[in-house]
Amino acid sequence: MAGLKIFVLFCFLVSLNCELKAQSNESISVEGHIFAEIVTVFSAVETAQLNFGRFTPGPQGGQIVITPQSSVSVLGSVFPAIGTHNAGCFYVSGDLDAAFTITLPDQPVVLKHNSSGRSMIIEDWVSTPNQGVGAGILQNGEKLVYIGATLKVGTLQDNPVGVYAGTYSITFDFN
């Protein structure tokens, strides 16, 4: 009787072994790993408008230059008046230590008089950090970008008293 039990057990083990061998030959699996990284959404918000301040055009006209550091200088027959002026400023945020490229307007931007339709143009845009590939770095995931430019001012006849306003586009490229 004991011999019969051993025989039955032996047969079972043999059959099990055959089954396992067949399985290993016919199918096989392997595991792969997957990785993805989501980075912080990049954003740019204007925190200060570019403002050339108050001034009076002279008989020949001239230029007002604002640097990214908000210092102002006047060329030609333009006379500054009391008031505020400042460089444009953008708060740029995103991935930690990410590099980005600033692209400033490459065409003159027009400022329109609020009622007469007269205009002035802005050109010679500059920024801090400088524009150029990868010139900006988001230290701690953020950066303030300051914008300066030169305003071309005509004569008082060309540019009557009033408020002149316009918009400009600046691109921050994170690729």
Binding site: S27, F35, E37
Partner: protein, 167 residues
Amino acid sequence: MKNFTKFLTIVVIGLAFCFNSHAQVSTTASASATIVTALTITKVTDLSFGRFAVNAAGTVTVGTDNSRSQTAGCALFGGGAVTAASFSVTGEPSRTYTISIVTPVTLTHTVTPANNLVINTFVTNPVSPATLAAGANTLLVGATLNADGSEIAGDYTGTFTVSLNYN
């Protein structure tokens, strides 16, 4: 009479066994067995979607040619590896096999596991069923992950299982 009948019966049965043993014949039969090369698969490269931003619901796809694309809601960024997964497959030359990958697969944020990305679609090159032309294949696997727009920034990881079956 009764005893005679019993005796006769025993004799007949005994003779029957005797005749039976003398009637045994022998013949030969064929037996064959074929040992096939076992199917093996080894991972060579993991699947990596690289770096991207999620603004809203969207998808990021890595093709088997290591290309990457996205739909609205996701923005692709450089600075990270973008690779299809690759596996080395060996087995019986000219034999076909089926490739299967169980979906969905979830990628979990490494710090905040409640955040995850889901993969519902995998693509392979070669497609299933594939043929082990010379007994070896490189199996490439790409996929499309889905973001619902609520994911936070950070690293996401997960695993997927590739199963092969001889046809």
